[in-house]
Symmetry: C2
Subunit: 374 residues, 2 copies
């Protein structure tokens, strides 16, 4: 499934390739997020043209709406949403813990009420895989328990043990599904939990490695902790993971976070920020963020980012984008979202090139020298 | 400017071509409306790909926001909005009468307050042309007075006389501009008013014909009157107009209205319904309107319109579009808007083909037999 192509000489950065039944993904890769089966505001063709090789979709949202019966009848998520490249689906766990109402957790599984209509649901780790089998995603994630920052060591330990337990059950269930010949081309990743406790991360990795997942995700990062703690956890966890498997930092992140994570050996990223910021009128550029509604852009006829060759930057000025934003025109939000998605995908492409050319550290330094964080 | 290519043998329908400095427009044509300089929710490239040969932009909205200084500095509307095909701009009169606050009308011009910030403005017919010169539109419209339905004969007569007076001033002002060599490639249409009074329409046409405009618009239609009255006014006015000039029915209309108007010899149409209905979850199809949020579409995996080859219909099902609409995803609204704009442009293309093939009446009958109005 994963081929490690090249390791940077001066850092942990890796160049790789994941092969799925819906095509190849070069790593490090950025996965745009399509919560309800749509990368908000963008046509799938434009997301592909912007360079996306894989997208992420949220199991929790799709399970609740339109529901699995519709997606089964549509013959899976790819067909339903008209996306023929790879899809990674999360387990829904994170949304159950952050969005759903009245959740009750037990070793058996999780009970919750839909945030949409209040309907009660109960899902086991096995159910969560069955749902993802029906979604037909290329990469599935097992149910896990994610704790927020800060949390006590006891909380982190309990969540980690439950995560390991559920990972084991997920592995077994996946093998049963495989025997049924149902999902033998869907991959399953293990999720490392353990909060900010290095020894817990260590224990968790050891247990998960024994289960031999197709790849490993680092969960429970970017849940409220400061950046340096995120980078630290990613670094100490990545080095414990098997070299020959892809590594995915869940929910990471801003451009600077992605660079720090790649340097520490992470291969895959997803984040909602390109479209969320786009909808709120903020563009990511090589010089930092641009809040397009601001008055300095009233008569600024330059592109959002003069170094960018996305559709937005090739055709429209900051002055026009500001006008659209102030006139509350959808087009302003979709053009910013498209640019932002392109910016993140382009960053991933430049990172891959830098690793190939053995100059990742210089690239990172140059990028951060130009890029105003904040 | 206008070349009449073919007249239908069994009706008033005409096939023609308008040549502007931004390219040719085959008529009958449908002009998508870009109120703030954007056809709501759609990338210009997709509107062109859907078959648009010209768009309409609203002078009133652009004059107020972003304002003429920005557009002048951007070197005109085409550059500002990244649209290199022809643009028709209205005079702003209709919006002043329907949107602006505290308007005061005199023969000299119109005073009003912006509906955005309450600022006072005063515009003469000459000002309105100067604004359109700065916008750089290919077809300009003069300031006119449009009355709503119903209105008394006295009201209609006064508005018509003011419209004729302003048309004369606009003509003279345009000739002055021409001598200054400023806008010698912008066309100016005359607008026929006269409400539902046939003799007033007759007087107005006679006066405007003497001024020798580049084309003629029929205004004051679709302002609240029943459909048969609209068709009647279009019919009696069209036959009075010079054969060798293009005829434009302002703000028309629904598919059935366009067919009726073409049959009566109208060449140009504009309407906000494709995008307005799209944003509200309604699609136009060859069988009539589809309200995509309705429950019958929950598991309907067919295209919106199986006879349509737009991006939306080639790639997405009603079930997915319904899901997007119910999940309040922008993508649902943009996909419906794109389909609707394509549907109207495609209808215009089919009308042109039918006229060329001398079978417009059969085409109209077939279309309306399949199309459920309502």
């Amino acid at each position: 499934m994963f081929k490690l192509i090249h390791q940077d000489k001066n850092s942990g950065a890796r160049l790789g390739k994941i092969t799925t039944r819906h095509g190849e993904i070069e790593t490090p890769c950025f996965m745009p997020v399509g919560t309800h089966g749509t990368i908000k505001g963008l046509y799938p063709k434009d997301v592909v043209e912007a360079g996306a090789q894989i997208m992420l979709a949220n199991t929790y949202h799709l399970f609740l709406r339109p529901g699995m019966e519709v997606i089964r009848k549509a013959k899976g998520l790819h067909k339903f949403i008209s996306w023929d490249k790879p899809i990674l689906t999360d387990s829904g766990g994170y949304q159950i813990f952050s969005l759903a109402l009245l959740r009750k957790l037990s070793d058996k599984g999780v009970e919750f009420q839909s945030h949409i209509d209040g309907c009660k649901h109960f899902l086991t780790p096995e159910d969560v895989l069955d749902i993802q089998r029906d979604l037909g995603s290329d990469i599935m994630m097992p149910l896990d328990e994610c704790v927020h920052y800060p949390c006590t060591r006891t909380q982190a330990e309990m969540a980690m043990h439950r995560t390991i337990n559920w990972a084991g059950r997920s592995c077994k269930h996946k093998n049963r599904l495989k025997e049924d010949n149902v999902n033998n081309r869907q991959f399953l990743f293990g999720i490392v939990q353990g909060a900010t406790y290095e020894d817990l991360r260590n224990i968790c990795v050891k247990e998960l490695k024994d289960m031999d997942f197709d790849g490993y995700a680092i969960g429970g990062v970017s849940v409220g902790e400061p950046s340096n703690l995120i980078y630290n956890i990613l670094g100490i966890t990545a080095v414990l993971l098997p070299i020959e498997k892809p590594r995915y930092a869940m929910g990471i992140g801003y451009p600077q976070d992605i660079l720090e994570a790649v340097e520490r050996g992470i291969d895959m990223f997803d984040c909602v920020v390109p479209t969320r910021y786009g909808r709120n009128g903020t563009a990511f550029t090589s010089k930092g963020k641009v809040k397009i509604g601001n008055s300095p852009y009233l008569e600024d006829f330059k592109a959002l980012d003069e170094n960018c060759s996305c559709y937005t930057c090739r055709n429209f000025s900051r002055a026009y984008l500001r006008h659209l934003f102030n006139a509350r025109e959808m087009l302003g939000l979709t053009l910013l979202s498209l640019h932002n998605v392109y910016f993140f995908l382009d960053l991933a492409g430049k990172i891959r090139k830098a690793i190939r050319d053995n100059c990742f550290s210089e690239f990172k330094k140059d990028f951060l020298n130009n890029y105003l964080i904040g």
